[in-house]
Structures are given as structure tokens and as C-alpha cells.
């Protein structure tokens, strides 16, 4: 292991390390800790400028119920769910199939199709912005959850295909060969042999795509407006404009918006990191 395991170092160094660790962590997360603390302060503290002292009262329940009752935050959150969940399902369904096709079959132009997905995945969003907005308008889906989700499915399919294809490549080819000798039809090979083996890849991608889409801000501002269709990222931004200097509410709203991806990350950490670090190890 590198660096040298701390157990093999001097006792003084071990103590130093064990003290430095929590201090470093608090400093690293300081902005977030500050936000969490602010989200339970009272409006009085905020106007009095008491940001860092002991709170005069703890308004945990009041602040958090305030943002749900007095603002459309609840509907923003629901819109985020309605965009994110179909995107995860759609992008995974499409990419399981395309990844399978690119990994298992040799055909003319297979590399070209694969590289199209990879290259498209890196394109700056701005080059798509004007045409995609126009397209969505023409389909009558502007300012709708469906319009936003359809675009996300298409775009995420690029990254997911790359991931799935490489994953299926790492599976033993003999499985497929053996099935073919037995006369199993191609779609049955996909459905009954490959798909069950893809579970770890599906889990990893589901978690990643969920986080990416939940946190998307750019497309939310381009394709939606108003509380009936805006997801929480864009919603939080418009609320921030209304809540001038109401930092306790902004903070509570930020925490609520960040909660779903954070919860998913902690619950499914193994899959999340497996997805993110694909290719980081040879």
C-alpha cells in the first residue's frame, strides 16, 4: 500500500494523523455545515446578522415546513422525480440493447456507430441548445416534463452505451457461442443470458444517471419555465430570486434539493463508485 500504512509509523505520527483527519473533514465540508446550521435559524437571526453565533431559537421544523407550504418547492421536487425516473429507465433500456449489439456482433461500421455515441457524449450542450429547444417547441413539448425527459434519455444513451458495451465485452464470449450452438435465438440470448449478467452495470448506471439528471440545471432552464414543469434545480434558482436575503429558507431549500442524490449515494455507494471509476483501473 502507498503511502506507508500509518500503523507502521511512529505513535506520534499516528496520533497526528488521527487528529488531522476529522479537522480536514470539517474544513472540507465547512460550506455545507454552515448551510445546514443556517437552515435551522430563525428569520430574526438572519436580519440581525447572527450567522455564526449560537442560534436564538432552533427553527428546524418551522423552516422546513415553511418552504413546502409557502413555496412550490414540493411541486419542483415532484417534477424532478417525473423527469429523472423515466430518464433512468429509458436510457438504460436503450443502452442495454445498443451496448449488446456493439459488444457481441461484428458488422460494417460498428466502430463508427460506437464512436458516434462516445463523441456525442462529450459535445458541449450549447451546440445542441437552439435546435433542441426549437424541436421541443415544434413537438408541442416545450415547458413539459416529457420534453425534458425525452432529451435526457437521448443524451444519456451515449454515455450508457459506452459503459454497457465495455461491460458486456468483459463477459465470457463462450456463453454466447454455446447458446448459439444450442440454437438459441439471438433475442433470447440477450434476454435470458446477457441481461441477467448485466445487473451490476445496470445498478451502477441507474445510480449515476439518477444523480446526473437530478442535478441537471442547464436543460431545465432551456426547456422548462414555471412551477408546473420546472425541476428542483431550476426551481431553487428562481426561489433564490424571490427570497432575497432569506438565507435560512434558501439553505433549507438547498438541503432538501440535495437530499435525494445524497441518499442514493449513501445507500448504493458501491455501485455509484463502480460506475464513476470505470476505466480508472486497468
Amino acid at each position: 500500500m502507498f503511502p506507508t500504512p500509518i500503523e507502521r509509523r511512529s505513535v506520534a505520527l499516528q496520533r497526528l494523523y488521527k487528529t488531522a483527519l476529522p479537522i480536514a473533514m470539517v474544513m472540507w465540508l465547512l460550506p455545507l455545515i454552515a448551510v445546514a446550521l443556517t437552515s435551522i435559524r430563525s428569520a430574526g437571526d438572519i436580519t440581525a446578522g447572527n450567522y455564526w453565533g449560537w442560534p436564538t431559537s432552533f427553527n428546524l421544523i418551522q423552516n422546513y415546513s415553511d418552504i413546502f407550504t409557502n413555496t412550490p418547492l414540493g411541486s419542483y421536487m415532484w417534477n424532478s422525480v417525473r423527469v429523472t425516473v423515466p430518464t433512468v429507465i429509458g436510457a438504460l433500456a436503450l443502452s442495454c440493447m445498443s451496448g449488446f449489439a456493439l459488444a457481441v456482433y461484428k458488422f460494417k461500421g460498428d466502430m463508427l456507430v460506437f464512436f458516434m455515441f462516445v463523441a456525442g457524449n462529450f459535445v458541449p450542450f450549447q451546440i445542441l441548445m437552439v435546435p433542441v429547444r426549437d424541436l421541443t417547441l415544434q413537438m408541442g413539448l416545450y415547458n413539459s416534463v416529457t420534453g425534458l425527459a425525452l432529451f435526457h434519455i437521448a443524451f444519456q444513451t451515449g454515455f450508457c452505451t459506452l459503459f454497457m458495451r465495455n461491460f458486456i465485452r468483459s463477459l465470457p464470449v463462450e456463453l454466447i457461442e454455446a447458446a448459439r450452438v444450442e440454437g438459441v435465438k439471438e433475442w433470447r440470448i440477450f434476454w435470458f443470458i446477457i441481461l441477467p449478467l448485466m445487473r451490476p452495470a445496470i445498478a451502477a448506471l441507474a445510480v449515476l444517471v439518477f444523480t446526473f439528471i437530478w442535478n441537471d440545471y442547464f436543460w431545465a432552464t432551456v426547456l422548462t419555465q414555471g412551477a408546473e414543469s420546472q425541476p428542483v434545480t431550476a426551481g431553487l434558482y428562481s426561489l433564490n430570486g424571490q427570497w432575497v436575503a432569506a438565507w435560512h429558507l434558501v439553505s433549507a431549500g438547498s438541503i432538501v434539493a440535495a437530499l435525494p442524490p445524497v441518499a442514493i449515494f449513501f445507500l448504493l455507494q458501491k455501485h455509484f463508485i463502480a460506475g464513476l471509476t470505470l476505466g480508472a483501473v486497468k
Partner: protein
């Protein structure tokens, strides 16, 4: 016998087409065609609703004399250069955390935290952190008898302030790449290095870093993309201000196409094309490397 063989063969050539069709059609429709449409729109004068007027390369000619375009381009370069700091910073934290002390798993997750939350939240958190009257930064500066400075209201500091906020999640991302990479480092090589008296920096440079090459490559790719996609933070923290001094190409394009300054789709598309060409350098670099790896397999 031969008939069934022929049907098998047909099935095998038809199957990839059917499996690929939905994904390819979707991707062409929403990603590939729009790239070409944007290039085409950049040759027109268009407000997004009315008729389009062909203007040739006028939009590009106008760009060459546009002060704001150069400011954005300059800021993009600053972003690209400074964002690279996320790579060594991530490596540093990964080395710091690569121990097996009690509770290490939790520490690693908490250090990774900033990457999981939305850039909108990161932007709001840092806007508040920099706030000249109450922000934590100025409280700390106050202890040393300095400040207050309004980072986000200052033309010289604003871009650096936003980049610093962006480095926070990006460093977390690079860190996790390196932690995974470090776990896969060959312990025998480390022991061999120790026997040869390689320590500290020497060990890191000659034995560890070469083995971390795949992690470094991915870190580089995602950091470059992150830097060029720097839209969210700019939009949330400053909306390009003060006086347009923190704009980047991605944000300037959006502003030109959709904001109160008028709906100039053609001009916006021209800016996007420039951004796309810059990105194309990296995409090509990545594809060439990938192609070599594929052929090498």
C-alpha cells in the same frame, strides 16, 4: 439443413440492426443532427420565431470584433488552466485518505460529498460563503484584520472565485478516481521499490504514478469537460457579472440566444460552434486514444 443455416445467418446480421435502431435513432435525432443544425443556424440571422435571413459568415465576423466574446474566451482559458488543479489536489487527498484507520469508509464518502450535490447548491453555498457582509470567508478574513472583499462583485476576483467553487466538487471526483486507482496498485512493486530504497516522492513519481496512468487519463478527460461546461456556476453565482466580467463562452452563448438582450439565435449558435471546435480537439484526442486501445486489444 442449409435453409436453417441461412436463417441463422440472416438473424445474426439483422439482430444488431434491431438492437441498435432505437438508441441510434434517438441519438441522431436529439444529439447528432442538432450539431449540424446549429452550424447551419450560425449562418443566419434569426430571432427563433420569425423567418430566417441568410447572412453568410457575418455572425463570425461580428464575433471577431466583440469585446465580450474575447472576455468569455479568456475566462474559458483561465477555467481550463485552473481546473487542472483538481487533478493534483484530488491525488493529494486520495493519498491522505489511503489508510485503513477505523471509520475510513465514512471519511472517504464524506470527502466525496461535494460531487454528489447539484452545482446549483454548490453555487448558492459559495455565493453565501463569499457574501461581503456575513459570508464565512470575510468573517475569517476579519480575524486577521483583513477584508471585507466582495469576491463576486469584483471584476478581478470574480472568475477565480467561481472557479474555486467549481474546484470543490471536481477535486472530489478526481479524488475518488485516484482512491480506486491506488487500491489497484501492485503491492509487490511497492515492496520491490522499498527494497531499492525508494521513498516518498521518488516512490510516488517512479512507481505509483505510472500505475495510476489510467486514473489520471480519466481525471484529465472529465476535468477538461467540466471546465468547458462551466455554465451552471456562472449562471447561479453571478449571471456573468459584474459587467460581463465572469462570462464564459457557454454562458455568453445562452445570454445572446435567450436573454433579455434579445433572441439572437444565429449569433448564439456561432458562439456555440466556436466552443464546439475547442471541444472537438479534446474529443479527437480521446477518440484516437480509444481507437488505439481497441486495436491493441
Amino acid at each position: 439443413m442449409s435453409a436453417s443455416r441461412a436463417s441463422r445467418f440472416n438473424q445474426r446480421s439483422l439482430a444488431p440492426v434491431l438492437f441498435l435502431a432505437p438508441a441510434v435513432l434517438f441519438f441522431l435525432f436529439y444529439v447528432i443532427f442538432p450539431i449540424f443544425q446549429s452550424i447551419q443556424i450560425s449562418l443566419y440571422d434569426w430571432d427563433g420565431l420569425g423567418p430566417k435571413t441568410y447572412v453568410g459568415v457575418d455572425n463570425y465576423v461580428e464575433l471577431m470584433d466583440d469585446e465580450a466574446f474575447y472576455t468569455s474566451l479568456k475566462n474559458n482559458v483561465i477555467w481550463l488552466v485552473l481546473y487542472m488543479l483538481a487533478i493534483p489536489a484530488g491525488l493529494f487527498i486520495a493519498l491522505f485518505l489511503n489508510q485503513t484507520v477505523f471509520g475510513m469508509r465514512l471519511y472517504k464518502s464524506l470527502f466525496f460529498f461535494p460531487f454528489v450535490i447539484s452545482q446549483v447548491v454548490v453555487g448558492l453555498v459559495f455565493t453565501w460563503f463569499y457574501d461581503p457582509s456575513y459570508g464565512l470567508l470575510n468573517v475569517i478574513l476579519g480575524w486577521f484584520g483583513m477584508g471585507p472583499i466582495a469576491i463576486l462583485g469584483d471584476e478581478t476576483w470574480v472568475t477565480y472565485g467561481i472557479i474555486f467553487a467549481g474546484l470543490w466538487p471536481q477535486t472530489a471526483y478526481c479524488m475518488i478516481l485516484y482512491i480506486t486507482g491506488l487500491n489497484a496498485v501492485d503491492p509487490e512493486q511497492i515492496e520491490a521499490g522499498r527494497l531499492d530504497n525508494a521513498k516518498g516522492w521518488k516512490m510516488l513519481w517512479y512507481i505509483i504514478l505510472p500505475q495510476l496512468k489510467p486514473a489520471t487519463f480519466i481525471a484529465l478527460v472529465v476535468t477538461v469537460i467540466g471546465a468547458l461546461r462551466s455554465f451552471d456556476l456562472v449562471s447561479i453565482m453571478t449571471a456573468g457579472g459584474p459587467w460581463g466580467s465572469s462570462r464564459v463562452l457557454a454562458y455568453y452563448m445562452y445570454e445572446k440566444a435567450f436573454s433579455e438582450y434579445g433572441f439572437r439565435m444565429g449569433y448564439g449558435a456561432a458562439i456555440a460552434v466556436v466552443l464546439f471546435l475547442i471541444m472537438m480537439i479534446y474529443i479527437t484526442f480521446f477518440l484516437v486514444k480509444m481507437y488505439r486501445d481497441e486495436k491493441g486489444l
